[in-house]
Amino acid sequence: MWRVLGQPKVITLLQRSLQSGRLAHAHVFIGPPHVGKLTLAVNLAQALNCASPDPPCGECSPCRRIAAGKHADVQILDLLSSEVKGIGIDQIRDIQSVASLPPYEGRSKVFILDNADLLSHEAANCLLKTLEEPPPTVHLILLTISRSRLLPTVLSRCQEVNLRPVPLRTARDILVRDCGLPSEKADLLSRLSGGCIGWAITASRDDGVLQEREERIAAFIAMSSAGPGRRLAYAAELAAQFGKGRDRVSETLSSWLLWWRDLLLVKAGDEQYITNIDHRTALRSQADRLTVPQIQQFIRHLRAVPRQLEGNVNPRLALEVLLLDMP
């Protein structure tokens, strides 16, 4: 069974090419985080090694070993993880020498390179030969967020498979049907996930994710009526977080951006499209105090801050200016 939810087109494509025996030797799966790229890649590896007549069954021994990461012929290299930090030409050479041997226990050797855009130039160039004509039993799957981050020479040697975020309603239905979530929670999670089912599933299992969001929104609401002193304190707090790890601050900024998008929608009277449906009252009362140009102006500012931070602007200054600028 294919375990990727909400991507019927992609699954049909892969299934057809599997059945006709014309599967490409190298794929690149392109899609936003949590959309299901790795799940799909693991599924494809299972399908290539599955022992049942209807691959991937997910039940047979090869399928289970692959899912548990114990199969000798399926290698998953996450270029983001600390273990393989700095994947270089040596690791690619290792892959190539492993690829020249026949599969150890299964039918196909599958190499999955997660976050393939982080490959160094030398490594990517070294991979080209293998990508172009790997031995018949070898399949390579590269995963990336955006096609523009890969070298054109790499892209042209792979079949591109685009995984797009799932429409809101489909996402909600999937969460209700396949994950057994109550419809209210499914509605909220599908909106928050932006169509990336993987995120919604993680959030539904881990209460911490939603709680963190709750805290952030509480802060946004508090800041909207706070004086300059409290705003500056919040900016300092964010800047301190930024010093420890950039991810949390960029998460905060993106959920803030969603909040302001909602404000704009509420102001324009398109309330059915908002993301934070559990905070309608707060949104409405804040929107009442604002004008459309004010909201647009602040959204522009919110979008500029991540770029500034990436460009190594003093984080505290950037965040202080942002908070003082908030209408």
């Binding site: 114990k70 000798a72 190539q96 020498s97 041997l101 226990e105």
Partner: protein
């Protein structure tokens, strides 16, 4: 699992399989060694997914079972123990060891998660004497390529035909071909490419073998099994076609020089000292006997270091000739020829040189010459 065995046997067994333990790997369990009871013996197994070595040692089995534990920790601990009885006991996911008043617990991983060792059955099986196999491996394995640009060249081609096993290795600059006798004839011809690393490990284990070695190839030619006494080595086979090397062996020559192998080796080593800076170029000049003894002149020179010339006796048939080789390749091949004399066949300074031991038809070595200004 509850087993007891002798420290010496266990330590030796771990030494044998230890060479197949993976060093850097994406599958952490391959850093472990699998310990399992099998027919009232203890089977030790390690694999790096290219080679798998299993070794059986005598043991008293009280209770069947299996576990995998980190190979390094286990073998270092066992080898530090006195030569006495060791009791092994698996408690949940860890291995308890007791020897006299020493005790240890090593945490392990489930044996079911260990990669299955390929079964090489119902294929073709050949037999060969261990000494013949060792001699063959020794004379070809050094000529394999070390880089992976052409994977098939990192292996040794093995061809079973009639009553001979022909091993051949090439790296683009040299070619070594050895023909070894098989015990019993072959009904069906087979050709495989064995990774050189596997052959090096096999060679090491063959050193103290006296019994005939079984070589089995599985039907789809992806794995080969070498069965020694109490040891089994399974190697993955390289896929692809080995270059047709037979057409590379020159059929004729204009100069045949026969020299003493040890003298030739010594003179080449001497010349190599001076050749180090000059791309390893060693020049040979063969002069036929006009009056008295013919000779071979071995020289090297480099801009910075200087130069040297050595001369050895040679029986030269045909015309006078000169040729230049990479000294390293000459040293490699002359070191594995055990016959007292060796023949060098040459034609022009730009055509390959052929080396054959005198008095033996089993070995041919070809080296590509280097182009030099004489």
């Amino acid at each position: 699992m509850k087993v007891s065995c002798v420290q010496e046997n266990l330590s030796k067994g771990l030494g044998i399989v230890g060479r197949a333990v993976a060093t850097r790997t994406t599958l952490p369990i391959t850093n472990n060694v699998l310990i399992a009871t099998e027919d009232s013996r203890l089977r030790l197994t390690a694999t790096n997914l290219e080679i798998a070595i299993s070794c059986w040692i005598g043991a008293m089995v009280e209770e069947e079972g299996a576990i995998t534990v980190p190979a390094r920790v286990l073998s270092e601990f066992i080898s530090s123990l006195p030569s006495e009885r060791i009791d092994l006991h698996v408690v949940r996911q860890s291995l308890e060891l007791k020897c006299l008043r020493f005790e240890a617990r090593i945490s392990g991983l489930d044996a079911d998660d260990f990669p299955p060792i390929p079964k090489v059955g119902d294929g073709k099986t050949y037999q060969i004497e261990p000494d013949a196999l060792r001699a063959a491996i020794n004379q070809v394995v050094f000529a394999t390529a070390s880089e992976d640009t052409r994977p098939v060249l990192t292996g040794v081609s093995a061809e079973f035909e009639d009553e001979t096993l022909t091993l051949a290795a090439a790296d683009g600059f040299r070619l070594a071909v050895h023909r070894a006798p098989l015990s019993g004839s072959v009904d069906e011809r087979a050709e495989i490419i064995i990774p050189s690393r596997s052959l090096i490990e096999l060679n090491r284990l063959l050193a103290d073998q006296k019994e005939t070695v079984d070589i089995s190839i599985n039907p789809n030619k992806s794995q080969v099994l070498f069965r020694l006494k109490d040891i089994e080595i399974v190697s993955q086979l390289l896929q692809g076609t080995f270059p047709n090397y037979r057409q590379l062996i020159p059929q004729s020559s204009t100069t045949r020089s026969t020299v003493s192998t040890p003298e030739f080796l010594r003179a080449t080593k001497t010349a190599s000292i001076f050749a180090r800076d000059g791309n390893g170029i060693v020049r040979l000049q063969m002069t036929p006997a006009e009056a008295g003894q013919g000779s071979m002149n071995i020289s090297a020179r480099s801009e910075q270091v200087g130069d040297n010339v050595g001369e050895i006796d040679a029986e030269v048939e045909g015309e006078a000739a000169k040729i230049a080789f990479n000294g390293k390749y000459l040293i490699d091949v002359l070191s594995v020829i055990h016959e007292g004399q060796v023949t060098l066949e040459t034609t022009t300074p730009s055509s390959p040189g052929v080396l054959r031991p005198v008095g033996s038809e089993t070995y041919v070595h070809i080296i590509m010459p280097m182009f030099v200004q004489w």
